[in-house]
């Protein structure tokens, strides 16, 4: 563990670290564009210049290994002058279209200019003109003029996704990033290039022009897209969620996430959400308050157990909920109702073990492992066949279903709804509306659930790593989580003080003031 001094501060870093890593570890600010912790060192932006005692020339921090006793600073006048000029070199051919650039507000050039630059521009010549609005593929748009050729995206394609779609063509200040005709930037990791682009050269088609980033707030969460459990940041405002970006976690996802995971904000937004309780059956639905719906479902449930015994009810769970919810719901169902009829609805059994080699897994549930663990802990292991025979033989009267949160990953949704709808009564807890569900003939309670961003809890990844997350924002005020549903089903009251919006609160919570109040 070599020790070094950075701007007079003692820092100890692991053997083989570079100076820039030491800077990051010590929290001292250093200007840089091309260096990215998840990629190889390119050393081309020439901004992370530092002065090392005993070396006459300034060195780049990203390619210089730390040696014991090094004395490094980036505050010397020469360094600051160099960084200023380095920024000027970056900016002389950079277009001044911040007003329409999506990166504005989170742009490396803007930030670092304010922090390290602030010089008087002296460029009076014409800027180099390059191509704008180039369609690179289904997800990404390129603006060559804004590109500062840091080569992060190219390195990402070569080193991480290993798909090699991007290249830097031409040379000198005529260089442009691009793809070759016939091979667009189309892979499941393409949007990472947008994240790592320090300027607005690469923009996401999905997010482009939809919001200015300064209107958005960020919340940390876990991607519910598959069992990898990538750590993510969710950007939201009062209208809902707008995008998902990866958050660094070296043990799970490194610095990346897949494009499929980035879509997992769409089912959270109001459109397509179940906004309140619904009771009834095909043709006769009634909107009721969620608490009333859950209470009446609880009555029916307990009544059924009393009448026909605990084996007349069944609980079907999907791997989309948190460990805490499973524990509470199973606790209620197994301990209180004394029923062992708990079944695991696996949405894509034939793809469960697929893996693309990087992050994306075939098991499209965030918490399959947690569910299996919770079921073992509760001592239940329902076989799907016994549910089948139970339903066919009318032994099972009421089915309680914790249905899918992300319906898109449940190709068998329709089939399963029809299958479970054979029961006399159905308590379907879900976050999204479903036209199939509206067609069931059983007496049904639809109870709106919160999505992952609206609750706190933990998911267990495929590796068995338990990752907890906090509440980010609330989209549907009426929605409950499974723990709350379990309380209501058991006939108890909820501690409403803990709920944003309150019992009689507005149906849809538009007010940001109440966001994140939990």
């Amino acid at each position: 563990m070599p020790k070094l001094k950075i701007n007079g501060k003692d820092v100890e870093v692991p053997q083989g670290s570079t100076i820039i890593q030491a800077f990051k570890a010590s929290g001292v600010e250093i200007c840089h564009y091309c260096w990215h912790p998840g990629l190889s060192v390119a050393g081309v932006c020439r901004l992370c210049m530092v002065q090392i005692e005993g070396i006459p020339k300034l060195q780049i921090a990203c390619n210089t290994e730390v040696k014991e006793g090094m004395v490094v600073n980036n505050t010397a006048q020469g360094v600051q002058e160099t960084v200023k000029w380095g920024l000027d070199f970056h900016l002389i051919n950079h277009p001044l279209d911040c007003p329409i650039c999506d990166q504005a507000g989170e742009c490396g050039l803007q930030d670092q200019y304010m922090q390290f630059g602030q010089y008087d521009p002296q460029m009076a010549e014409h800027k180099v003109k390059k191509h704008k609005v180039i369609d690179l593929g289904p997800t990404v748009v390129l603006d060559s003029e804004r590109c500062i050729l840091c080569s992060r995206c190219v390195r990402f394609m070569d080193e991480v996704s290993k798909t090699h779609e991007l290249g830097i063509f031409n040379r000198g200040d005529r260089s442009e990033i691009g793809t070759v005709e016939g091979k667009p930037l189309a892979n499941n990791y393409s949007l990472n290039t947008v994240d790592i682009c320090p300027v607005g050269a690469l923009t996401s088609k999905d997010f482009r022009f939809r919001q200015r980033v300064w209107y958005l707030k960020e919340a940390d969460s876990i991607c519910p897209g598959c069992s990898t459990g990538c750590n993510v940041k969710v950007s939201y405002n009062e209208e809902g969620l707008w995008r998902i970006k990866p958050r660094e976690n070296k043990e799970v996802n490194g610095y990346w996430m897949c494009d499929v995971g980035r879509d997992s904000y769409k089912f959270v937004n109001l459109k397509g959400r179940l906004l309140g309780g619904r009771v009834g059956r095909r043709g006769s639905w009634q909107d009721v308050d969620v608490v009333d719906a859950a209470r009446s479902a609880g009555l029916k449930l307990r009544e059924t157990v009393e009448k026909f015994g605990p084996d007349s009810v069944a609980l079907v769970l999907t791997g989309q909920f948190t460990n805490e919810e499973y524990k509470d719901l199973l606790g209620f169902f197994v301990s209180n109702l004394k029923s062992k009829n708990v079944f695991h609805w696996l949405n894509n059994p034939d793809k469960v073990n697929e893996f693309d080699g990087l992050l994306f897994r075939g098991d499209r549930n965030p918490n399959t492992k947690g569910l299996v663990g919770a079921m073992i802990a509760a001592g239940v292991s329902g076989k799907w066949e016994s549910l089948q025979s139970g339903l066919a033989g009318k032994k099972i009267k009421l089915v309680l279903v914790a249905g899918p949160e992300n319906q898109a990953v449940f190709p068998d949704l329709e089939e399963k709804v029809k299958f479970l709808g054979q029961a006399e009564s159905l308590v379907w807890m879900t976050s999204g509306t479903s036209t199939v569900l509206d067609q069931v003939m059983a007496e049904t309670w639809q109870i709106p659930l919160k999505t992952y961003i609206e609750k706190a809890g933990s998911f267990t990844t495929y590796q068995g790593k338990v990752q907890s997350f906090k509440l980010g924002t609330t989209i549907v005020a009426q929605a409950l989580n499974l723990s709350e549903v379990a309380e209501l089903l058991a006939g108890r009251d909820l501690n409403w003080n803990l709920r944003p919006g309150g019992v009689g609160g507005v149906k849809v919570n538009y007010s940001t003031a109440q966001r994140g109040a939990l």
């Binding site: 800027k127 003109k129 704008k132 022009f209």
Partner: protein
């Protein structure tokens, strides 16, 4: 002032007061009739006050030479607006040299405080505070101005030309 009549109050004679009032009105009317130039008030709406050129009145969205809207939907005006009365929805322009433009631009003039921060924030001279100040309308919804109203209302006679032309700027190498 209480409107409840006190039971113990005496009945009063109002006539002298009324006459005094009528006399005052008559005096002013006669004075005004013979001193029309010195009159303190205007005969609105036949007469209208001329404000200075820097008056901040109703908003105008400027247009480009081809008549399309100059606004690039950068939302700086909306960000800067203290009354939060501007709402913009941006979209991708089919013309790649324009790139971004507003498909909806709404100003709620009832909330607007006419501070002029929007025109100050605008990097491209897309919004200006014009000289118009008559904003009366019969219906509440008429107070939300949309692009049609802001840029192409009949008073503007086809739109106000922006001083910043992208094409010219590109040719100048900016």
């Amino acid at each position: 002032m209480s409107l409840v009549k006190r039971p113990d109050a005496k009945a009063e004679w109002f006539l002298p007061g009324i006459l005094a009032g009528l006399w005052f009105t008559l005096k002013k009317m006669l004075w005004n009739l013979f001193n029309q130039q010195k009159m303190q008030t205007l005969n609105y709406p036949e007469q209208k006050y001329e404000y200075g050129p820097r008056f901040k009145g109703n908003h105008v969205l400027t247009v480009k030479k081809d008549g399309s809207i100059r606004c690039t939907a950068c939302m700086l005006c909306a960000t800067n607006c203290p009354a939060q009365c501007i709402k913009i929805t941006a979209a991708e322009n089919p013309d790649p040299s324009v790139e971004k433009y507003p498909i909806a631009y709404e100003i709620d003039v009832l909330r607007c405080v006419f501070c002029g921060f929007c025109e100050e924030a605008c990097p491209v001279d897309a919004i200006r505070m014009g000289p118009e100040w008559q904003t009366a309308a019969l219906n509440g919804s008429k107070f939300t101005y949309d692009i049609q109203q802001l840029a192409y209302r009949p008073q503007l006679k086809g739109g106000v030309l922006s001083v910043l032309d992208d094409q010219e700027r590109h040719q100048a190498g900016i």
